[in-house]
């Protein structure tokens, strides 16, 4: 299935991109994160267990057990710092 991935702030810089379209079989947010970590380098470092980041699924904050469907928009970003 096709997923639209978005990256913001420090993670955008670390990954060298602000978006990508990914063909993936990941059934959940957690499985998708594992797939991205397997790329190694900054992906493995920034998304390691214990690192603090947030995931939004279709613009709502989501947890690792959230299920994925084709066409979903998944954003990964650091804790927010507005205001």
């Amino acid at each position: 299935m096709k997923l639209k991935l978005l990256y913001f702030a420090r993670l955008k810089d670390a990954f060298g991109r602000d978006h990508e379209t990914l063909e993936s079989d990941a059934a959940s947010v957690g499985a998708l994160l594992a797939e991205l970590r397997a790329r190694g380098g900054a992906w493995a470092d920034e998304l390691a267990e214990g690192r603090v980041f947030r995931v939004a699924l279709n613009q709502e904050l989501a947890t690792a057990d959230a299920g994925l469907a084709t066409g979903d928009e998944v954003a990964i970003f650091p804790p927010v710092t507005g205001g």
Partner: protein, 152 residues
Amino acid sequence: MDAFTIRVDAAAFDAGQEIARLSADPGVGAVVSFVGVVRRHGDGDNVAALELEHYPGMTEKSLAAIVAEARARWPLSAALIHHRVGRLALGEPIVLVVTASAHRAAAFAACEFLMDFLKTQAPFWKKEIDADGHSRWVEAKSSDEGAAGRWQ
């Protein structure tokens, strides 16, 4: 214009004009405003500007949800959140929150609540740019989580 307004915009705001607009309802007896400003001492000690990034779409949804939560808790007549994005120089305003109610207690509490939740929920990120051109992403503060947590 709707009594409850959310704006995410590179443009500046006129706080006086917005306060006047939210005061126009004859039921309003109290208007509280907050302005956040770019300061020199942040994570770095010589900040010359901020670059404000956000997640278009989610930002507006998130702010609308925070306003809806405030309306569920206090009898508000009107509210405004105007958050700027893009590059903002030292001393420039970043965010304006205005709340209006019949009485001051609700307006004060709701204004603080909106800011506390905006800072921990809305997808904005600040990058500090120093006078010498060096830059760094601002780290989230546990004190902000604590401020939002006290409303639960």
